[in-house]
């Protein structure tokens, strides 16, 4: 069994070490690139949302490298993601690939199947093995996210923000060469050290922007065109409302009650949206309110073209903007998105926030 999985931000780093630790052979897909997208677009339905296309590209590239088993999580809300595994299996079958799909559906969809899948995947004989594996995976994801978050913070304050990019790029390159958890943990510690040694500007007060929206676009840098880096280089402190850690905490670790962070978002969203609308629509609204209440300067909503839950959220966000006088910009991404226009919007939004802050300061002096 040679395992692969779609790219999802930094998850592949933790995922690779995690499965290796369990004695599985892992073939992570090459970093998502234009080629990935081209392949994915070619073989997917034209009107399907962007994540499916990128994932198909990931799978094809992994299969080329020898993978024969695809691991994917499932979902059962009113969002197309729940249907991804079925559609993707069909697409790959039609292309003549005979690969195994292991879908970790939520327990509500049948606990027996989840148990069977988890046992095969984790090479486990009993529940204790599963638990041990889970604990390790949790540590790895936590640390990988910590590095991403740390790099975002350092980039905003750094004297030379490109230095942070160099460290992170090197870390990503080296991570692919490590084997098992210990080596990866060591590399992560070195990276954290390096990041902490980056020279920072004195007394600099960055603009703070929260990134909200559809989880895949928020997390996968190829799809959101490295929004964290782009904003970081403009001296913006970026906070992401969704990370792999937050997802795991909510869906796995705190199952079935849900995590504190996510329940807080539901609470914040309640005056506007009381119910699940699929995907992370409710969380998007809740996060926007959270950022507005916590002194952020603005928020950016990311969504793939024709994402249903986020379209619902988008129309509700205009009330949040009105009520909190909180600027939120929506950016829609698909395979046609041009980088120049994207950059212009980001720059203009940051300008807007700077001027707004200056005005506020000026008013408070009077």
């Amino acid at each position: 069994m040679k395992i692969t999985f779609p790219h999802f931000g930094n998850v592949y780093i933790a995922g690779k070490a995690f499965f290796e630790e369990l004695g599985q052979e892992v073939i992570p897909p090459p970093k998502s690139s234009r080629k990935t997208l081209e392949m994915g677009t070619k073989f997917s339905q034209e009107t399907i949302c962007l994540p499916l296309k990128v994932m198909i590209g990931n799978f094809l590239e992994s299969i080329e490298k020898g993978a024969d088993t695809i691991v994917l999580t499932g979902s059962c809300g009113p969002c197309r993601f729940g249907y991804y595994s079925i559609l993707q299996r069909n697409i790959l079958e039609e292309l003549g690939y005979n690969v195994e799909f292991i879908v970790l559906d939520p327990a509500g969809e049948g606990f027996k199947r989840l148990k069977k899948n988890a046992y095969t995947l984790f090479n486990a004989k009993n529940i204790r093995d599963v638990y041990r594996a889970g604990k390790l995976g949790w540590q790895l994801i936590n640390k990988a996210d910590y590095i991403t978050d740390l790099s975002n913070k350092k980039r905003a304050y750094a004297v030379n923000s490109h230095e942070v990019d160099a460290i992170i790029d090197r870390y990503y390159r080296d991570a692919e060469k490590t084997f098992r958890a210990k080596e990866l943990m060591d590399l992560m510690d070195d990276t954290i050290n390096e990041l902490n040694n980056v020279k920072l500007k004195d007394g600099f007060e960055p603009i703070r922007i929260g990134i909200i929206g559809e989880i895949y676009t928020v997390i996968e840098p190829f799809v959101n065109m490295e929004i964290e880096r782009k904003l970081g280089h403009m001296g913006v402190l970026v906070d992401k409302s969704l990370t792999p850690t937050i997802w795991v905490e909510h869906h796995v670790k705190s199952f079935p009650f849900g995590s504190k962070t996510e329940r807080l978002k539901y609470k914040k969203a309640e005056p506007y949206l009381k119910t699940l609308v699929g995907g992370h629509g409710r969380e998007t609204v809740g996060s926007a309110v959270y950022y507005a209440e916590n002194g952020f300067d603005g928020a950016i909503q990311l969504l793939p073209l024709n994402c249903m839950p986020e379209i619902v959220a988008k129309s509700i966000l205009s009330s949040v903007i009105e009520d909190y006088k909180f600027p939120i910009m929506t950016l829609i991404l698909d395979e046609m998105t041009g980088e120049a226009g994207y950059m212009t919007r980001l720059e203009a939004f940051v300008d807007l926030l700077y001027r707004k802050r200056e005005e506020k300061k000026w008013k408070s002096i009077i």
Partner: protein, 326 residues
């Protein structure tokens, strides 16, 4: 020697240059078609300044537009700013109480909402170019009328036709259909203006609170038919500034002036750049599967800039400060 600030706006369709004095008034302006060769047009416009104005001193340079980074590389800018900020600054300079700016250029259209002199909201056209200058240009050619006559023709209409303006392709086929039915040209021109305005307000202006005073900027503002259609649709007065076509460049010049309060010397490379030979070379990097198309701009055996790579392998390999685009 007289002293001016230089503002440059390199857009998809036009390249605009202005010289502005300390009192923010425009001394010289030039509107040129970019024609897909921004570097040459840029150099020509710099040369033209010397020819038409004579020897002057440049105090500071600001660039904007989609080619703002390129202009920075060629001319040497003190500030590089996005179009939205530049247009807002220029609009405020024209009318400090402005609350809405409608800007329609060659390939994009924007709305900028200002309150008490600061930008509070903006939007740009998202995934569609229907209703921008290029679209109008094309339809004018199809109708066989000069684009500068288009607006006046639309004003003559007594019975405008309704054209589906949601999408450029459908608008075109709908227009042909109306043509074949025998509608006269002025009614079709007016119909197109209405369709464009409808599309703009439904798309870009959706959910925005449009309040007077309204400024209409960008190349399309020359079209009196569109202006009229806006006034009819909004039931408000729409003003067109005198220098509507070079507002981006004016904004860039004003920003340069502000920037030079903090700096001692301008980055301007001098008027001699007009006669320099620039070589542009493009190649595909095969370092990874991204296969980035890297562009390299050089002059006199010196590489000025490289860009287009995602990873910074090429753009960071040059040491001069102004080459970091990534």
């Amino acid at each position: 020697m007289e002293k001016y600030y230089l503002g440059i706006d390199v857009g998809s369709v036009s390249t605009n240059v202005v010289l502005m004095d300390e009192e923010n008034s425009v001394f010289y302006k030039k509107y040129l078609r970019t024609q897909g060769k921004p570097i040459e047009i840029l150099k020509k416009s710099i040369e033209d300044i010397v020819k038409e104005v004579g020897e002057i001193e440049i105090l500071g340079v600001g660039t904007t537009g989609s080619g703002r980074y390129l202009a920075d590389i060629i001319v040497g800018a003190d500030i590089v700013k996005n179009e939205i900020t530049a247009h807002a600054i220029a609009g405020l300079n024209y009318n400090p109480s402005v609350r809405t700016i409608i800007e329609i250029g060659g390939q994009d259209s924007k709305i900028i909402i200002l309150r008490d002199g600061i930008v509070v909201d903006f939007a740009m056209n998202t995934v569609c170019a229907a209703g921008t200058g290029s679209f109008l240009d094309r339809q004018a050619i199809r109708l066989g009328i000069d684009i500068s006559e288009f607006g006046n023709l639309a004003l003559k209409s007594k019975n405008p036709v309704r054209i589906a303006g949601r999408c450029a392709v459908f608008a075109e086929s709908d227009m042909i259909h109306k043509q074949q039915l025998g509608h006269n040209q002025s009614d079709i021109a007016k119909g197109l203006c209405d369709a464009l305005v409808r599309n703009y307000l439904n798309n870009v202006g959706k959910g925005k609170e449009i309040l007077e005073p309204i400024l209409f900027q960008g190349g399309v503002a020359a079209n009196i038919g569109i202006r009229k259609a806006f006034e009819e649709a909004l039931n408000m007065e729409v003003q067109v500034p005198d220098n509507y076509d070079v507002m981006g460049a004016i904004g860039a010049a004003i920003l340069a002036k502000e920037e030079m309060k903090k700096k001692k010397r301008t980055h301007f490379k001098g008027f001699s750049i007009g006669s320099l030979e620039h070589n542009v070379r493009g190649f595909e990097c095969d370092g990874c599967s991204n296969r980035c198309e890297v562009v390299e701009i050089g002059t006199n055996n010196r590489i000025l800039a490289r860009y287009g790579d995602k990873c910074g392998k090429w753009s960071n390999s040059i040491k001069n400060e102004d080459s970091k685009l990534a």
